[in-house]
């Protein structure tokens, strides 16, 4: 171990400031004795004690002493670094000492407060801790924080409601946006939907204005029928190549990237007789039939919830499908030909205008629903017997076979109540007793186990609608690899932190929103998109990113290019250069040190937490005194 660095270079001049913290430390540790001891340690040029080091006069004392004694590194032995380190670092900088030449020793949380009844031992420990700090300080080196300029342009991948919302937000903030959509049109999955829940506007009416705004915005460059072909670089400086149908790839430079590639409904091959009868369809196909005005007249319809979800083809609950089923069930029960487009002539002339009276009616209904809600939840159990305000019974039987209804949130719950009022039946099934769809003499029937009667029942139906879960885009893995951001176990993009960073990826500069990070309805997608745009705008607005100088540094003469570090890094902050040697993207490195601890060649140094510094500390901890 090269212990002599300090003597070869200019000899370090360490200043040690030991704090009484009133009596918090001083009451349980002999601070004077520790200070005296500190002044005997190697390279300590000055040691003193203060009543409150963090107070104005304490800070001034540090600044003055630095000048007076020509100190080049500072130790404050007081409380936890997690609170005051930035304060003391600023003080050092103000006196011309690089902030990385500062070391904290924790005498309060880690000593005086936990050894309150053994002053002698606490004092001995305090001396050891100061000795450890000095040992570390001797090997400190000044660091420059990397500051990287940011190209103030964003890339949004996916032109659904999420991507469009994100692109518009950024464009409205004044940033140029490249919007890449693999389809030949914007709009995403919502374009193929018919009616939406909780609004009388059709899906098309809802999404159209958003598409128009995107089309009209001068800051948004659209790349339709296109995909991201390659991505190089890091936060602030991505070189992205956008490939189109047969066209020459376009090269763009962007500072931040938002992933909004949505999801697709599961195709329930082999489940519930799907494809065995034209009357067995998925909820997405139901929407399409409505859109095309091809829905046949129905007398009895069964929805089967969780078709393929929760332990069948996928393990999770897709959240939105119950609400989607409730929406469609209400529309069927209301027998609103105009919405469902049952007959062609009617649909052609009625169009959207017919929906107006529906809107009024809806307002009325909502009022009565609220009244009912106030009356209490008791009636929920009554399985939706119609009451005043409910639409006249249409004569269509609608049954929703479910494991449990996930009508989360106030609005969805209201819709759920409304469905019950429309006499939609909700029949539970257990995971071991899935409903059976069969075809008898060309007619559909659903067999199920009645949980209360504990009996097998059959129900003839005209149509079975399978509520299949949203699943990840089949090509999500490709994009995940290009951007070096993770997919969770279900194949959806995985955010940095479920609770605290829901729209960030762990990798700086890349963000996520909408159904590509898990099933979400439109309102949720829009809020996430607004959030992601806001997060992505921060580096763009700042114009630069500055990283703490806690990073890894690869010694290219030692690196053999084994690639271990590249694999280990959680932030994709390491890559191999043209010579096959590892290199660090300082702006992306978070300084965790995982690579440093793994490199078999010892080729990686962690700045400010070097092996040398850490081992010097450990050694000092174990010295016999």
């Amino acid at each position: 171990m090269p212990e002599n660095t300090s003597t070869e270079k200019e000899k370090p001049r360490i200043g040690v400031f030991i704090c009484h913290c009133g009596s918090n430390i001083g009451g349980f540790v002999d601070v004077k004795a520790v200070t005296e001891y500190a002044s005997t340690l190697p390279d300590v040029a000055y040691a003193t004690d203060n009543l409150y080091t963090c107070a104005e006069d304490g800070l001034n004392n540090i600044k003055e002493t630095i000048k007076e004694h020509n100190l080049d590194r500072i130790i404050v032995a007081s409380c936890t670094p997690r609170t005051h380190a930035p304060l003391f670092q600023r003080t050092c900088e103000a006196a011309g000492v690089n902030k990385y030449m500062f070391t904290f020793v924790n005498l309060r949380e880690h000593c005086s407060w936990v050894h309150m009844k053994e002053k002698e031992k606490a004092t001995q420990k305090a001396k050891d801790l100061v000795r450890m700090g000095v040992a570390r300080a001797r090997f400190l080196e000044p660091q420059e924080e990397t500051r990287v300029d940011v190209t103030p342009t964003a890339l949004v991948v996916g032109g659904g409601v999420s991507g469009m919302t994100a692109a518009l937000s950024l464009a409205n903030m004044g940033f140029p946006v490249h919007l890449v959509e693999k389809d030949k049109e914007l709009g995403g999955f919502v374009r193929s939907l018919h009616a939406l829940m909780m609004t009388t506007k059709s899906a098309n009416e809802t999404i159209r204005p958003l598409i128009d705004k995107v089309n009209a915005h001068k800051n948004i460059t659209q790349h339709l029928s296109s995909h991201v072909a390659s991505v190089e670089g890091f936060i602030g400086n991505y070189d992205v190549s956008i490939g189109g149908d047969g066209a020459e790839p376009k090269e763009v430079k962007v500072g931040t990237i938002i992933v909004a590639t949505g999801a697709v409904p599961l195709v329930p091959d082999g489940l519930f007789g799907y494809k065995e009868h034209p009357g067995i369809i998925t909820s997405s196909e139901f929407e399409e039939l409505c859109n095309k005005k091809e829905l046949p007249r129905l007398k009895s319809v069964a929805f089967i919830q969780c078709a393929g979800a929760r332990g069948q083809k996928v393990s999770y609950c897709s959240r939105i499908c119950c609400n989607v089923a409730i929406k469609s069930a209400i529309h069927i029960a209301e027998n609103r030909d105009n919405i469902l487009g049952v007959t062609e002539e009617k649909a052609a002339e009625a169009g959207e205008a017919v929906e107006e009276p529906a809107a009024e009616k809806k307002a009325e209904e909502e009022g009565s629903e609220r009244r009912r809600r106030r009356r209490g939840r008791g009636r929920q159990a009554e399985d939706g017997a119609g009451e005043e305000g409910a639409a006249p019974s249409s004569g269509v039987e609608v049954t929703v076979f479910n494991r449990d209804v996930m009508a989360y949130g106030v609005e969805n719950e209201l819709e759920f109540n409304k469905a019950r009022e429309k006499r939609v039946k909700f029949v539970r099934y257990g995971p071991d007793n899935l409903p059976k769809v069969s075809v008898k003499d060309g007619k559909l029937e659903v067999g199920y186990f009645h949980e209360t009667l504990k009996m097998e029942r059959t129900m003839p139906v005209d149509m079975v609608i399978l509520s299949t879960p949203l699943v990840a885009q089949p090509d999500a893995a490709t994009l995940s690899q290009l951007l070096k951001v993770p997919l969770g176990q279900d194949g959806f993009f995985q955010e940095a932190h479920v609770k605290l960073r829901p729209v960030d990826f762990a990798t700086d500069g890349v963000y996520v929103c909408g159904a590509c990070r898990g099933p979400a309805d439109i309102a949720e997608s829009v809020s996430q998109a607004a959030g992601a745009a806001s997060r992505a705008s921060i580096p763009l607005a700042n114009g630069f990113v500055q990283a703490e100088a806690l990073t890894s540094v690869v010694d290219e003469t030692k690196c053999t290019g084994c690639g271990t570090c590249v694999e280990v890094c959680p932030y994709s902050a390491l890559r191999k250069n043209d010579e096959g040697i590892s290199e660090v993207i300082a702006a992306a490195c978070k300084g965790c040190g995982c690579c440093g601890a793994t490199c078999p060649e010892g080729a990686i140094t962690m700045t400010h937490y070097t092996d040398q510094q850490l081992l010097a500390e450990a050694k000092a901890a174990l010295e016999e005194v």
Partner: protein, 147 residues
């Protein structure tokens, strides 16, 4: 409670020395909380702060034993709580490897621990230290000969 072993009565002055590598975000914060809440524990531990438990090279642990540590702890965030996503997974893997390696070298398993201590677990930090001190007092100093 520290049980007084015979070994310890023979050498009343034996003061085991523990080096604990604590990650900045959880376990160091846990140790801070022990302080803030005035939980008392024996003064045998010396904490070396690292940003992530994943920073701890197995060589550091071996070196600490070479330098005379009676016990070494690597403490990090609970699984899936690592501030750097999954640094602690690497710690867990290395921990398994280290335990085996040390065992083979005749260093008792109680002398090396990987612990997950959250920022809210001041009490747990204190318990870990108490537990290890009592284990080490039973064991006595590291034997020179491999049994």
């Amino acid at each position: 409670m520290v049980e007084r072993s015979e070994a310890e009565q023979d050498q009343p002055s034996y003061n085991p020395r523990i080096v604990a590598f604590c990650c900045n975000w959880c376990s160091y914060a846990g140790a801070d909380l022990a302080g803030t809440t005035r939980v008392q524990y024996p003064p045998n531990v010396r904490i070396v702060r690292v940003m992530c438990s994943g920073r701890v090279d197995p060589a550091f642990v071996l070196k600490a034993f070479t330098l005379g540590a009676d016990g070494v702890i690597i403490a990090g965030c609970h699984p899936s709580d690592c501030h750097y996503i999954n640094g602690n997974e690497k710690t867990a893997t290395r921990g398994d490897f280290l335990s085996e390696f040390l065992e083979e070298a005749g260093i008792e398993s109680q002398r090396f621990r990987v612990e997950w201590i959250a920022g809210s677990e001041g009490q747990k930090f204190a318990e870990v230290i108490r537990g290890m001190v009592s284990d080490l007092e039973m064991l006595g100093p590291v034997a020179q000969e491999v049994a």
